[in-house]
Symmetry: C2
Subunit: 385 residues, 2 copies
């Protein structure tokens, strides 16, 4: 199958491209390197060094004998995007190409506007490119569990059958996202559902939880194939950040009481979910939603698990929560759709965390402690990045 | 009360500014004249001639002795907007300043992207201006009944108490909008609800139905104070368009079976709703939603009412529906919030329609028949405007 991976240079886009290529698909990656420019802007870097995309593509060819096609450009450039889709003619488009950090979107007005413009308009351009080239191209779009917030009822997979005053309807699940970033994913979901309903687009919206892990079967074959490992307070996801804090001998920084419960997923399961979604496309006109998590855990429990697994001494530090969110809440998520397609989850385990400690220890000289404390506060419309 | 009307040069923004000024409020209008530029782009004009904003403001001063302040600029220019809000220091901001035509947003990719960018980013800039100047400034934002679509359950006022698997939560009412324009209002609602929840903004979201009518107590005092009267297939609202078609001896153009039921409101009630919302602000952190309609009617019944009232012969023509929407559906809308604040509705009546016939007849020589047939089709991503 021909698959175009938008954002194919990112933390998940790159391992996804390799996994799909390894399974025999004909893969192209498209990227504008925005993620690398955020590093430059904020003075960050991946703990694990990463090669340029051109070098990675070359390395994959040397290691596997397989070729990836490469498109360098921006989704906001609609002509470029339409040309790439027309020329590559994918059967599926996997769309990771959005600004993905909640704190980044909350820095100030410019970062909020950038995030909403980049994500929403980029995705509109993807929808129009599909509609203009071939409505049968299956859009596999990364959403986030953060679209739902923390409702007091069970979280279904994107749709909810609502009973009200004796009548019923199947409706989009009501959303309460927690940042300008999370809002963009809600906006995208609404736009794409409209495209399915009006033009007959086929779409799978993957509401992904917090991803952890750094190695996959493919990226582990050569150091030049490594993907990012972010530990800073802006782009680091929580479990990865705790692992690096433990290796550094730095306290694990939990926001508030740590009672916030989140859905988690191993990076190896993420890329497998994408493969399953691509190989089992949504129907014509179908807006299909999966909750892409394999387990749920409170942030305090994630910290305790990392601390208990680490061979040395680890402290947990409870900071004032810079975010506006509930510390304690109900959280029960339906996530059966991907299991029904065949996903066999890797659940969080000691051995997995051990392997992350090893990755972090190997590169710990690259870490900058000052980047790990939250400086972006939700309560004010202007932070200093 | 100091009130800033964004989009104060438009069909509703202008009469709103006059109504508020007439009631003793200190009013400023802000506009970038986008609505006039759509006329130039598409070769349209208001059936009733309208003066320039500067002339209108001068005429209102001559007629009433009251002054309106004037800010000319674009909400996408965040510095300009922040400066206007800082200098005028309103207690309330009434926000009409969005591209408001569903067909316009469906012309092609450029018009869809323009509409989403203009509306969503403009409103983000308004939220940030309020948050930076004073979170107590009450945002009175125009939404649309089209955010809801036509669900099979009762339409509540913005929020819905959902019972699911034995638990309950109060959630944003699930939305199913019918165009890229309607989607922008859904996006705005989510963004603004987040601003209320996170920054403590005060907001009233007015989900307005189809507006009809052209004269108000204020605009009727001098021909120079007239507001727009649109009859074309892009910007004309359905009842106004039927009135003008009747006067022209042109068949009333009903899409599909005309079974689509819509909420309606008289222009005089619209401006009164705005006054009531401003004078009774939402609480700090409250995202308050009102359904701004006074009655519901099917499109076929609206056509029949216009035809029956017109003193001459009128035909009704049923066209293939260019939109993707249900022809027959349940539609029951709660709209008690504004009544509780004191709204006394003008319901649709023969005398009202008669007065509209008179307005249309006075200017019928300005009408262009060719602009009344729908040319923009929902089913294709590229129409020729």
């Amino acid at each position: 199958m021909r698959i175009l991976v938008l954002g194919g240079d990112g933390y998940l886009g790159w391992p996804t491209a390799l996994h799909l290529s390894d399974r025999g698909h004909h893969v192209a990656v498209l990227d504008n390197f925005a993620r690398r420019s955020y590093d430059d802007e904020l003075g960050l870097q991946s703990l694990v060094p990463i090669e340029s995309l051109h070098h990675r593509v070359q390395a994959w060819h040397e290691v596997s004998g397989r070729r990836l096609e490469l498109f360098v450009g921006d989704l906001l450039d609609a002509e470029f995007l339409l040309d790439a889709v027309s020329r590559f003619r994918p059967a599926a488009i996997v769309h990771y190409a959005e600004q993905r950090s909640a704190p980044y979107s909350m820095i100030d007005r410019k970062h909020a506007v950038y995030t909403q413009h980049n994500n929403v308009i980029g995705t509109l351009n993807v929808m129009f490119a599909i509609a203009e080239v071939d409505c049968d191209i299956h859009l596999v779009k990364l959403g986030t569990m953060g679209e739902y917030g923390t409702p007091n009822i069970d979280i279904e997979e994107g749709w909810l059958t609502v009973e009200h005053n004796g009548r019923t309807d199947r409706m989009l699940y009501p959303k309460k996202p927690g940042s300008f970033y999370h809002l963009t994913k809600v906006h995208d979901s609404h736009n794409i559902e409209f495209g399915c309903r009006t033009w007959g687009l086929r779409a799978t919206d993957l509401n992904q939880g917090v991803v952890y892990g750094q190695q996959t079967d493919q990226t582990g074959r050569d150091p030049r194939l490594a993907t990012r490992f972010d530990y800073d307070a802006v782009f680091g996801t929580v479990l990865n950040r705790f692992v690096i804090q433990a290796v550094l001998g730095h306290p694990l920084t939990v926001y508030g009481s740590g009672g916030q419960t989140r859905g988690l997923i191993d990076i190896r399961d993420t890329i497998e979910c994408i493969r399953l979604a691509c190989e089992n496309p949504a129907g014509a006109g179908e807006f299909r939603v999966f909750n892409q998590i394999t387990e749920t855990m409170s942030v305090a429990d994630i910290a305790k698990t990392v601390a208990a697994t680490f061979p040395g001494n680890v402290e947990v530090e409870y900071l004032d929560n810079p975010r506006v969110e509930l510390d304690e809440h109900y959280y029960n998520v339906v996530h059966t759709g991907l299991i029904e397609l065949g996903l066999q989850p890797h659940l969080l385990s000691d051995t997995l965390i051990d392997s992350l400690f090893a990755v972090a220890a190997r590169h710990i000289d690259r870490a900058d402690l000052s980047l790990m404390r939250p400086t972006i506060n939700w309560r004010t419309p202007a932070n200093r990045p």
